[in-house]
C-alpha cells in the first residue's frame, strides 16, 4: 500500500455521495483516521446531521431511533468499536431495525499495533453471532457496490449490516 493512512482518497468522496443519494442524512461516528474524509464531508454538509459519539453503542441506538422517526442513518466506526456494541446489537436483531455500519478494519492485513489484533480478528464472528451480516470491501472498486448492497439489505429487508472496509483497502497505520 502506498496510500497514507487516513489520507483523503477518492473512494471516500464517492462513498459520501452514494450515502447522500440514498437519503442518509444522520451520520454518527467515533473519530477514526480511515473515515476522515467521510466524517469531514458530513460536518461540512448543511443537510447532514453529524453526531460524534462517546462510544459506538450510542450510535447503534441512535440509528434505531432515527428509523423510528422515518430517517436513514449510518454509523461509522473502527473495528475496535464493534466490541463496544455487542449487547446493543440485540436492539437491531430483536427489533428488526435496519442498520448500516461502516467499519474500518484494524488488526488484520499488515497490522503493526498488536493491541488492535484481538478485536480486529473478532469483528466478523461477533457481528454474525448477533444476527447481523458482514460484507467486505477489499478494493476501492468494491466500496460503492458493497455499501449500496448494505443499504438495500438494511432499508428494504430490515437487516443489520456491517460493511468491513478492510485493511487491504485502507492501508496499515505505521508504528
Amino acid at each position: 500500500m502506498t496510500t497514507e493512512y487516513g489520507a483523503a482518497v477518492p473512494w471516500q468522496e464517492d462513498l459520501f455521495t452514494l450515502l447522500r443519494e440514498n437519503d442518509v442524512n444522520l451520520f454518527c461516528y467515533v473519530p477514526d483516521g480511515g473515515h476522515k474524509t467521510l466524517i469531514n464531508r458530513s460536518i461540512e454538509d448543511p443537510e447532514v446531521i453529524s453526531v460524534p459519539l462517546t462510544t459506538e453503542e450510542e450510535g447503534v441506538a441512535m440509528c434505531a431511533g432515527a428509523h423510528l422517526g422515518g430517517k436513514k442513518a449510518v454509523l461509522l466506526m473502527q473495528s475496535s468499536g464493534v466490541g463496544n456494541c455487542v449487547n446493543m446489537f440485540a436492539l437491531i436483531k430483536g427489533g428488526q431495525f435496519p442498520l448500516v455500519t461502516l467499519v474500518t478494519m484494524r488488526g488484520e492485513f499488515g497490522e503493526m499495533n498488536p493491541w488492535q489484533v484481538p478485536m480486529g480478528t473478532a469483528v466478523q464472528p461477533v457481528v454474525e453471532a448477533m444476527g447481523m451480516h458482514c460484507l467486505r470491501a477489499e478494493s476501492s472498486e468494491e466500496v460503492g457496490p458493497t455499501v449500496q448492497a448494505a443499504l438495500n439489505m438494511a432499508y428494504k429487508s430490515n437487516q443489520g449490516v456491517a460493511v468491513l472496509l478492510t485493511q487491504k483497502l485502507i492501508g496499515a497505520k505505521a508504528f
Binding site: E58, H67, N87, Q96
Partner: protein
C-alpha cells in the same frame, strides 16, 4: 444535594408527563417502561425496552434529531442511564430543542432485587447532566416541584433533563408487548403511516 426519596413514582411520573398523547416517548428497560406503558395503555407513541440497557437516551436522541417537528421524551431509570452516562454528553453537544429526558431515580436496580445504584451512594445525575452541557436541568424531590418540572419537560425550547427522585415503591403492574419488532412497526405506522 437532596437525598430525600419520598415521592411515589406511580403518582409523580404521570403528574410530570401529563397528557402523553402528543409526545413521542422512548423508555428505558424495566421500571420506566412499565411507568409509561401503564400511562399510555401501551400506546403506539411509545417505544419501550426490556433489554439494550443504556440505549434509551441515545435512541431518543436519534428520534429527536430526525423529527424536530415533534417533542421527544426519554423516560429512563438511574441504572439504565448510568450504563451509558456518556450519552448525556452527546445530548449536550447536539442540544436538540425538542428533547427532554426524565430520569426516574429510585437509587436502586429494582428489576434485579433492589440492589443500591450509584445514585444512592452520592452520585448526582443532575450535576452530570449540567456538566454535560445540557442547557436546562431540574431535580424534583417534593410534590410542590412537580408542576414547574412538567412545564420544563413540555415547553422548554432547549434540551432538558429532569431528575425525579422517587421511593422504592414499585412501578405499576402492567401487561405490555415485549416484542421490539412489533413495537417498532406500530410506532412507525402511527407516526409515518407506513411500515
Amino acid at each position: 444535594m437532596n437525598e430525600a426519596r419520598l415521592l411515589d413514582r406511580k403518582m409523580a411520573v404521570p403528574a410530570i408527563v401529563g397528557d402523553p398523547s402528543d409526545l413521542l416517548i422512548v423508555c428505558g428497560l424495566a421500571g420506566a417502561s412499565k411507568d409509561i406503558a401503564h400511562l399510555t395503555d401501551d400506546g403506539d407513541n411509545i417505544f419501550t425496552m426490556a433489554g439494550a440497557m443504556g440505549g434509551a437516551t441515545a435512541m431518543g436522541l436519534g428520534l429527536a434529531l430526525s423529527r424536530p417537528d415533534k417533542r421527544v421524551l426519554v423516560v429512563t431509570g438511574d441504572g439504565e442511564l448510568l450504563m451509558n452516562v456518556g450519552t448525556l454528553a452527546t445530548v449536550g453537544i447536539m442540544k436538540p430543542a425538542n428533547l427532554s429526558i426524565l430520569c426516574v431515580d429510585n437509587g436502586h436496580y429494582g428489576e434485579t432485587g433492589y440492589q443500591e445504584s450509584h445514585t444512592q451512594r452520592g452520585v448526582d445525575l443532575e450535576v452530570i447532566a449540567q456538566g454535560s452541557a445540557i442547557p436546562v436541568t431540574r431535580t424534583v424531590t417534593t410534590e410542590d416541584q412537580i408542576a414547574e418540572a412538567a412545564q420544563v419537560l413540555r415547553n422548554t425550547n432547549a434540551s432538558s433533563f429532569i431528575l425525579l427522585r422517587v421511593s422504592t415503591e414499585p412501578p405499576p403492574a402492567v401487561k405490555r408487548s415485549m416484542d421490539a419488532s412489533e413495537r417498532k412497526t406500530a410506532f412507525r405506522r402511527a407516526l409515518l403511516g407506513t411500515r
